[in-house]
């Protein structure tokens, strides 16, 4: 694990935070979009016992940013830390997003599942960004975060909220599906809650679009040591989300 310092830990919405960490250039050069980081809370606390995994959200300005949502005790404790606090992190973990994404590309995000697409878009050349559509869904307008930031990339941004307070009223997957007839996507890359990923897998099964899903599960190690973070593999056996993923070809896994 490496030492790092919190530069900022800012609330963007009621339960969504943007954490900015100082990292050195050496480490920065090792990071690719799709990698994740394990963050250890700073004191000797035993509960929660395991550092939590977070996707790398952004590397702009030479800082490592994490976009996270409070869902339990670990994320709540993280949200209470202030600038200047020293933390330990383990990074890079997992495999980067696949390199063979085709364009036009659909990025599909549910809630803070959008996090990893920041670093991805930061790394894409302008012409590929123009061929990318970001479908971003959340429960309500307040939970759609960093819209200014997403707009800087020049991607087409398509929003959906369950309560209809912004963009399309309903699920982001419905929005995607209704677009599929007119837009000829070569790839889909999706990250979000399990029901969303299941739906995308169904939608993609009837098409030739190369579809990737970024998976989550509780992780004890994040390093392949415990063999606990499994997703069933088509054809038998299991993948380990932390070492074989977290991003998988939808066809390769059983949800």
């Amino acid at each position: 694990m490496k030492s790092t310092r919190i530069l900022e830990n800012r609330a963007l919405a009621e339960r969504i935070y943007l954490l900015t960490l100082q990292i050195d250039e050496d480490l920065m050069n090792k990071l690719s979009p799709g990698h994740f980081v394990k963050i250890k809370l700073p004191d000797q606390r035993l509960d929660p016992l395991f550092p939590r995994p977070y996707t790398i959200h952004s590397l702009i300005g030479g800082h490592l940013q994490v976009l996270y949502q409070i869902v339990g005790k670990g994320t709540r404790a993280l949200s209470q830390l202030t600038a200047g606090t020293d933390l330990e992190i383990l990074v890079p973990l997992g495999r980067p997003f696949p390199r063979d994404l085709g364009y036009p590309l659909a990025l599909v995000a549910g809630g803070v599942g959008v996090a990893g697409f920041g670093f991805l878009l930061e790394s894409l050349p302008q012409e590929k960004r123009k061929e990318t559509i970001l479908y971003y869904g959340a429960s309500s307008k307040e939970s759609l975060v960093r819209l200014d930031y997403w707009e800087t990339f020049g991607v087409t941004l398509k929003l959906a909220t369950e309560d209809g307070s912004a963009g399309y009223k309903g699920f982001v997957t419905d929005l995607l599906q209704s677009d599929l007839s007119e837009r000829k996507f070569k790839s889909i890359l999706a990250c979000g809650p399990m029901p969303m990923l299941k739906r995308i897998k169904e939608i993609a099964a009837n098409s030739t679009i190369k579809t990737y899903l970024s998976m989550e599960s509780f992780m004890a190690c994040g390093t392949g040591f415990c063999k606990g973070c499994v997703v069933p593999r088509k054809g038998g056996g299991y993948f380990h989300i932390c070492e074989d993923g977290p991003t998988f070809l939808a066809d390769d896994i059983i949800l």
């Binding site: 694990m1 016992l49 509780f218 992780m219 004890a220 190690c221 040591f225 063999k227 606990g228 069933p232």
Partner: protein, 294 residues
């Protein structure tokens, strides 16, 4: 300083516990060979079976206060693949490698041990205590008589260092005495505690598995101390070690060596930090270890 578990000499009393550092193929991503040689006395492999095992369906993990319930189900590539693909790199590290074995019957254990004899492997830890498989595993630990037959059978064909890893539940003392009688070289006390957790209410998802981590340390410390006072075999402690202090306390009650398990999951470099802390404690209090056991 050298450390001894019976006839086995170790450079440090710290051992990486079975199943908590994967198959070993990525250990060098986190620790250098020098760090491994200087901090780790021995390495114990993931539980290995005759045939590959896919392991249990998810959920396999649940965090509990200060602990972890796991139900991995001994996912492993089988002894043959392990020997071919994973072992050579571990052997090159020049730290004793002990093979943790899982059989569903005495016969399967004997077959596994024959493989190892052929490969000239010098250390075995018989896992008769895994709570996460339907056959074998912890079922052995219910019957001192079966354990006696098993250990005796293995002893007859295996000339290397023979450790038996006990469950912390069941007739632990009787099983320990049976291992002694059957001429085991040492005991590991203990595996995880059978436990259960509710992962979600709707839909109802539960996990039944083994509890590890700091939550179990006081329990296993007590067990180690009790067994040491009644069984004259070297004891390797395993349960809830996160710090040099935890290791020192196990040594203080008479353990010959101590395994580091769940700590490796929290931080793959835990063992290095634990070793540094232990060195300091040994300087300050090391003399206490020669005075018999509380």
């Amino acid at each position: 300083m050298t450390w001894k578990i019976g006839s086995l000499q170790l450079k440090t009393p710290l051992i990486l516990a079975s199943g908590t550092w994967g198959l070993g193929d990525t250990i060098l991503d986190y620790l250098s060979p020098e760090e491994i040689i200087n901090s780790i006395g021995a390495l114990i492999t993931k539980g290995l079976s005759l045939e590959p095992m896919a392991g249990n369906p998810p959920p396999r993990l649940l965090e509990t206060p200060c602990g972890l319930i796991n139900s991995i189900g001994l996912e492993n590539p089988g002894i043959e693949v392990f020997l071919k693909r994973y072992y050579p790199r571990l052997r090159d590290l020049e730290v004793p490698v002990i093979f943790n074995l899982h059989g569903t019957s005495v016969d399967e254990f004997l077959k596994l041990v024959r493989y190892l004899e052929e490969e000239n492997i010098r250390g075995v830890e018989l896992n008769i205590s895994c709570p996460n498989v339907t056959e074998g595993g912890i079922a052995f630990s219910q019957s001192p008589e079966v354990v006696f037959q098993l250990v005796k059978g293995v002893r007859e064909i295996f000339s290397g260092f023979l450790i038996v890893k006990l469950s912390p539940v069941g007739p632990v003392l009787e099983v320990a005495l049976a291992c002694k009688e059957a001429a085991a070289d040492a005991l590991t006390i203990a595996n995880t505690y059978p436990a259960m957790g509710i992962v979600s209410y709707e839909p109802l998802k539960v996990i039944k598995g083994g509890l590890s981590g700091p939550a179990i340390k006081p329990l296993t410390l007590r067990l180690v101390s009790d067994i040491i006072s009644k069984v004259t075999l070297p004891i390797i402690a395993s349960g809830g070690v996160l710090s040099g202090k935890d290791v020192f306390e196990y040594l203080l009650v008479g353990a010959s060596a101590v395994q580091v398990g769940t700590a490796n999951l929290i931080n793959p470099r835990s063992v290095i930090e634990i070793h540094e802390e232990l060195k300091e404690l040994l300087l300050r209090h090391g003399r206490l270890l020669d005075k018999g056991h509380p």
